[in-house]
């Protein structure tokens, strides 16, 4: 079948031409596993690969044999690299399960430079509370970490597994919300040192509102926080816009991961439309856990009639009938998704992997499924 030949080539094509592959989609569709398998595949081709994930997945950490709370990327253990055929190919695979607080602290230290000021900032209670809050921080962290690695040459390929998010594009939007806020013009209103009548008048309204709503203590803390933060705003902002530009450019690709469920598909469609609006390069859609990839045909063995075995066999045949119906349905879904993309991208249906396959074995099996045929 020529169509499936073409679609099985998409991952190889991307690996040959891109430096960053972003996996996105609704929660629970196998995004993290897909991202890790792509990384394994690339490393088996001899690339130096980094897989960045925000979802603190224990299963993935175990599969790769890396720690969940590292401060920097961790290479997978040598015996696993050997087992996965990475060592023989001369590639390398590192993984980093980002801890938002670790990344934020590093950013602050790097930007402030002065150790004493940095320490004061890191201990500020608003900063500490801010990094504990999950919403927004994960997205911000992903963009921040990505920035670091697109601006150096330590890796040939970075695979980013986007944060689990109801709003699929939050990871792009949330940092830009932060960035907008951080624009000097706006935040200066909060700074006590600003002079000029209008500024001061505006600042006093803002101050009254804030202290009325938040209480005087917090208002003062906020002012102090913004004061400390002032030096690092423009730098953060710049990093984010560099990352966004890179993601819109020719070295990046977005893959939307979906399952066959209608909810996941509708979200994938929504995501596709939005990324197109934003001018981001969606290269393809990965259909996970479908029945669309053909299973091996088999012949009926000789079983004594009316035996327990033959009874079980006929019940299993009923299962097969259901499986066939599911396959029929999923082929329809595959065609539908292909139609969304038209000429502008490819669809790849990944094979189903038995849950008995776990760890690295599962990732390898999926990686093989990405290039099979």
């Amino acid at each position: 079948m020529s169509a499936s030949q073409a679609s099985n080539g998409i991952i190889s094509d991307l690996l040959a031409t891109r430096r960053v592959i972003v996996c996105c989609g609704a929660g629970g569709v196998g995004k993290t596993t897909t991202a890790a398998s792509i990384a394994v595949l690339a490393a088996r081709q001899g690339k130096r690969v980094l897989v960045l994930t925000i979802d603190p997945s224990k299963r993935l950490a175990e599969a790769l044999g890396v720690s969940q709370h590292a401060a920097a990327p961790v290479a997978i253990p040598q015996e696993r690299a050997r087992e996965a055929g990475i060592e023989a190919a001369g590639g390398s695979l590192e993984a980093w399960m980002l801890d938002p607080k670790v990344v934020a602290d590093q950013a602050v230290r790097k930007i402030i430079g002065d150790e004493i000021r940095a320490a004061r900032f890191l201990q500020h209670r608003i900063y500490i509370e801010a990094t504990r809050m999950i919403a927004g921080m994960q997205e911000y962290t992903a963009m921040k970490a990505l920035h670091k690695y697109i601006t150096d040459t330590a890796y040939d390929l970075i695979v980013l597994d986007t944060p689990p998010s109801r709003h699929a594009l939050d990871f792009l939007d949330a940092p830009s919300r932060v960035a907008e806020f951080l624009e000097g013009r706006i935040f200066k209103l909060f700074l006590p040192s600003e002079q000029g009548f209008f500024r001061r008048a505006a600042s006093s309204v803002v101050h009254k509102v804030i202290s009325g709503v938040l209480g005087e203590d917090l208002a003062q803390d906020l002012e102090e926080f913004f004061g400390l933060f002032s030096g690092i705003f423009s730098s953060l902002n710049q990093d984010l816009s560099v990352t966004r530009q890179f993601l819109a450019g020719p070295q990046a690709a977005f893959l939307i991961v979906t399952s066959t469920s209608e909810a996941a598909r509708t979200e994938a469609r929504f995501f596709l439309d939005r990324t197109r609006e934003l001018g981001l390069p969606v290269s393809g859609i990965v259909l996970n856990r479908s029945h669309a990839v053909e299973q091996v045909a088999l012949s009926k063995p000789d079983l004594a009639p009316k035996s327990l075995e033959s009874q079980v066999w006929s019940k299993l045949e009923a299962f097969q009938t259901l499986e066939d119906q599911r396959r029929e349905r999923d082929l329809g879904i595959l065609a539908e998704i292909r139609a969304w993309l038209g000429e502008r991208g490819e669809v790849l249906a990944l094979p189903w992997i038995s849950p008995a396959q776990e760890g690295l074995g599962m990732l390898l099996e999926l990686a093989r499924g990405m290039v099979r045929r």
Partner: protein, 338 residues
């Protein structure tokens, strides 16, 4: 507390009805229901099912999701053929109003209540700086949602009773859920006095009340979702939200008796080629996950059948599950099944 270990032979997979433990049926008599779970487990479906069930039993029901209207795809609103819910409750069908719990709307409600000088409130809302601050400052979005919810809970019906007797809230994925339920504690550390602190305490009184609120953790009978539901329960408990139970969704029907099952499991272990291989393997996975869940959690486990091969359209799935749930609730109420 000792938990009786569940033996494999006691694990019964769903038939075409919902198994509703008595404790779970009792939790359904509370007013506020928080529906949560990892993405893709059927959270929106179950939010809609609970709302339907309440409405069918005659309660004025509010179905809420957390979103800024027009900004994100809403699977819940789609069930009623709408793009999204509005920030004001709007009738979806008889007995059910839908609403978007919006950070912005909540912030507006809050500001106009606490800032008594009207000109100042207006100036504040018009100020770009305040807007931006509310958008990005940590927790302010959650605070808006929180306040919006509090306001809706206080609405009165024309007869003087509560306007909404049952409130079902479709909560976002794990991290965001705990950011919301943990808000009073996290924000309370920073803000100890003033109107925000008051609102948080008021919310805490309601959401942490065993007689008013029940959180439902939706899960699938697969290893990862089961682990995550266990972690989510622990998180909810940490934030003092009473857990109504786990709703184990999409359990496949098991046609095998214990002897037959041994044969199937043996064949799978031997790596023999059998028809319906994937379905058989997944059935085993279902059983193992259910067994593990029953042994891991003390909370009641509601078991719901997989309707994948019967109904694909989300609307039909909701209708089917809702009528099964109503049947189970009625059965439990009349003392039929424990």
């Amino acid at each position: 507390m000792t938990v009786t270990k569940i033996a494999p032979q006691d694990v019964v997979l769903a038939d075409s009805r919902i198994e509703l433990p008595v404790a779970a049926a009792q939790a359904l008599s509370r007013r506020i229901h928080l529906v949560t779970g990892k993405g893709g487990v059927g959270r929106s479906t179950w939010s809609a099912v609970l709302a339907r069930q309440f409405a069918a039993r005659g309660y004025r029901t509010l179905l809420a999701e957390i979103t800024e209207p027009g900004q994100a795809y809403s699977p819940l609103a789609r069930l009623w053929g709408q793009d999204d819910f509005g920030v004001e409750p709007r009738a979806l069908e008889t007995g059910i109003d839908g609403v978007a719990l919006s950070p912005r709307r909540g912030q507006e409600l809050f500001l106009s209540r606490v800032i008594h000088v009207e000109a100042l409130a207006k100036a504040a809302l018009a100020s770009e700086a305040i807007r931006k601050l509310l958008d990005v400052a940590p927790s302010f979005r959650e605070l808006g949602v929180y306040y919006h919810l509090l306001t809706l809970l206080k609405l009165l019906h024309i007869n003087g009773a509560e306007r909404f007797e049952r409130v079902v809230i479709d909560l976002p994925a794990t991290g965001h859920t705990l950011a919301l339920t943990g808000l009073p504690e996290i924000l309370g550390r920073v803000i100890t006095r003033g109107p925000i602190a008051e609102a948080l305490r008021e919310g805490q009184r309601i959401l942490n009340s065993e007689s008013l609120t029940a959180a439902w953790v939706i899960a699938l009978p697969e290893p990862l979702p089961v682990t995550e539901s266990f972690e989510l329960i622990a998180g909810l408990k940490r934030t003092h939200v009473p857990v109504g139970g786990v709703i184990l969704n999409r359990l496949r029907k098991d046609p095998f008796n214990p002897l037959e099952r041994q044969v199937v499991e043996g064949w799978i272990r031997e790596g023999r080629s059998i028809p319906g291989y994937r379905a058989a393997v997944e059935l085993g996975e279902n059983r193992a996950a259910l067994e593990r869940l029953l042994n891991l959690v003390k909370e009641p486990v509601v078991r719901a059948p997989d309707l994948e091969d019967i109904a694909r359209e989300p609307k039909l799935v909701v209708a089917e599950l809702a009528s099964m749930l109503i049947e189970s609730v009625t059965r439990t109420d009349s003392g039929g099944v424990a």
